[in-house]
Subunit: 471 residues, 2 copies
């Protein structure tokens, strides 16, 4: 049995602090907090649900004094192990802090509490003719707090950037239990170090975000969608480059390789050409008059580099049909085998064809079922390995394949993670990308802020000799 | 006479390290490095000019060992004292590192060395149909290294954000002389803490940037410009809000108050209405078809909230004429009195009318010559005080007025500095905005990275009891 971190006395103290919320300690309750969208199961000692920032800060003070690990958690859709309570201790269930969602139209900002679903922010902004651009695929089920911790991306990263680009202020509980404000309500702010952008994407290791100020933009008036089908992956890559260098900046450019096209057609026949090497889905947004012309131009560019066919949606209904292909990739591939390892290795745009070739080699070398799709417009591919986690022999090949994917991305000038985060799974590969000195500068910040290592321990930073283990 | 930091032995060691560059120690040479665009004169002990990153790193190692202050410096256009060698020691003249300016069209990135002028990056990008959006007013004379250190803004912040939003990777010499790489060539990167965005805007206190990878975007096809003239500052503020909430996102929205209109007309008659309370200059960019419609719509919105007159430029020549008014503000106001204190206090957009009122009160209370203009679209005003630094009595009133401006900005939910940085001048006001705990978290990073406090000391962080001194 796992050794518990919390003593009976600790629990009494925790109960005394949490006056307005709940403390869960029943094993059956704790189990729901032991996993996320990635790998591994770790039971916490207690789960706290409270909307009170003061109570949370008091708990962090206690945790810091008693060296009790603390894990902030949203809806646990993390694909990298961000919220896993790997060293026991307390989970803070921040999904209950879902009551603040204020839109200030004149300032073009929204103020939100961490438990609000990202999709709710999209809706609230749109009701006022505004837009919160970051759109991770999980936005209907993930909290903004989780998006902030992981600096979530999504297909719109190409034109609009990622979560971090829209966060201008935070309220944060530091690892020593102080409540600080960073940034504010202005887009321009150079008063001291940018703690806001340091904390966003730090995976909950530098503090607990209890409020965020998000920048909104006017909502584009209209969107247009097209699908271009290619007999060669290299041609698809060229089309993406040509469009971007023509002066058109699409809001989305998504790639699906043959394996993902086949998977979708087998799952639900949509009339996709299963003999095509790749397809790209392009969305352009903006002023209706500009859209018409840009759509024509983008279609012509695709044809000029050898697209077999270009389908342009005539209305919203046809747009939705085209996007359905991309939306079905994830459900389609989990039908093939029960375990899906979703990677997000990202390369410079020009290296996408090369990365696709490397992935092809990896597929053959390790004899794995590999499906490639993702946000090709910003170099953020999603190589997904379909496997069965109960098959030890297969999982060892998967471990080697995942390692090879990371290596390929870094060798091509890219990064281990474009949008999922490092968490537990990618920690062993940090030094490969950052070098010892680069990693050391990150560790110094962690130690300076969290000397007792209580804030979401076991994430980002590898322990010496740590290796990827999936089997 | 000032006590020197460098001994003769230090100088011998420095000379030995700088094999490919120059070490200046002549008082006449040093004088050129003793000031910037702000206040105060501080002579360094030596100035190093070298293009070699290894030599600079070796110098930093020496400096760290011997506790010699080091100051990275570009073209010294800083308005906040960023590069001032306030504690003696070595200045690194990075303006000589101007030889790398590579544009990678397919990746939509530029790789630059710190001494390259920002305007040269604009040109290099434009030649390829691309754009590097940050456009501080000093871009023709300031280096990208200085822009990176200060996280420079400019009028395009409204639509395109600031320098930080376009930096995706850095090469940096740490305060202990290690060379690290942060980020990379991908727009999406969540591998560990975002050291890139921490270092950009840290005013040279966390390391020396020796290379940067900048994100570029497709250049908008066309621009349109209009000037709207108002009898009331509040109406001008309303026009800005109305335009933004109509779905139009202009590339620039600049405000000039009556004092700046009058100053420009006295300097060079352009036919501006000197009896108007304010004017706003609006630039919209994008697709030609969309522009036409949006320009009409924006003009109608200005008229609907009470604009006395709206002038729309018919061609590039007329565009340039309208912008001339804004461009002449700075040269016009320095004609009035020799000293110009240029502030950049920034407030949430909706608070611009209130901030204008507070500035009016400050003008009267302290009997100062105050001119207000700036980037109203993003809340980043530039209250400029015109004075004579040899007049002690006047400068004491100016000190009080500056303090009052900072207070007003913070009270309205804004910030001390939108784009100029904290440097030496605003350090005394840091705790007012950040609180003791917030400032402490910044100091911890500084101490963890630069334990011997050699990297651009005397900036950002106040010494106990430090006050603004201009007289």
């Amino acid at each position: 049995m796992r050794r518990k971190v919390l003593t009976a006395e600790h629990l009494t103290q925790i109960q005394a602090i949490v006056a307005t919320g709940r403390v869960l300690t029943d094993e059956s309750d704790l189990f729901s907090y032991s996993f996320d969208g990635s790998f591994g199961t770790y039971l916490p000692d207690a789960v706290v649900q409270t909307k009170s920032v003061d109570e949370l800060a008091a708990l962090v003070k206690l945790a810091n004094r008693e060296k009790i690990p603390v894990y902030p958690r949203g809806q646990s859709t993390s694909l990298s192990g961000g919220p896993l309570p790997v060293k026991g201790g307390m989970v803070f269930d921040l999904s209950v802090m879902n009551d603040v969602l204020e839109v200030y139209e004149e300032d073009l900002v929204a103020v939100v509490s961490p438990g609000v679903l990202t999709a709710a922010i999209h809706k609230a902004a749109e009701r006022r003719g505004l837009m919160y651009p970051p759109d991770p695929s999980s936005s209907h089920v993930s909290t903004i707090g989780g998006n902030l911790a992981e600096n979530s991306g999504g297909p719109k990263g190409l034109k609009y950037g990622v979560t971090k680009d829209y966060v201008i202020g935070l309220e944060v509980i530091t690892p020593e239990g102080e409540i600080i404000q960073t940034g504010g309500r202005t887009v321009k702010n150079v008063t001291g170090y940018d703690l806001t952008k340091l904390i966003v994407g730090s995976e909950g290791t530098l503090g607990i975000i209890t409020k965020a100020i998000l920048r909104l933009i006017p909502k584009p008036q209209q969107t247009a969608t097209m699908m271009a089908i290619f007999d060669s992956l290299v041609d698809a890559g060229s089309a993406i480059s040509k469009i971007l260098s023509s002066g058109i900046l699409p809001s989305k450019m998504e790639l699906m390789d043959q394996a993902s096209i086949v998977a979708v057609e087998q799952y639900e026949p949509l009339g996709l050409p299963t003999d095509a090497a790749a397809l790209i889905l392009i969305e352009i947004d903006g002023h209706p008059l500009a859209l018409k012309e840009e759509t024509k131009q983008a279609a012509a560019l695709c044809q000029a580099v050898g697209a077999r066919e270009v389908r342009i949606a005539k209305d919203k209904k046809e747009e939705a049909e085209l996007w359905k292909a991309r939306k079905l990739v994830s459900p389609a591939i989990v039908r093939i085998k029960p375990t899906k390892i979703s990677e997000d290795a990202t390369v410079p745009r020009s290296k996408i064809p090369q990365m696709c070739e490397r992935l092809q080699e990896i597929r053959e070398t390790y004899n794995i079922h590999l499906v490639v799709f993702g946000h090709a417009g910003d170099g953020n591919l999603h190589p997904n390995i379909i496997c069965d986690k109960t098959d030890d022999e297969e999982m060892r090949r998967v471990e080697q394949a995942v390692t090879a994917i990371f290596k390929a991305a870094v060798e091509l000038g890219g990064t281990l993670s474009g949008e999922h985060g490092i968490g537990t799974m990618k920690a062993p590969f940090m030094e490969m990308e950052l070098g010892a000195a680069g990693l050391d500068m990150m560790k110094r910040i962690k130690h300076a802020w969290d000397p007792n290592e209580i804030m979401n321990p076991g994430k980002i930073f590898p322990v010496p000799g740590q290796k990827l283990e999936l089997s």
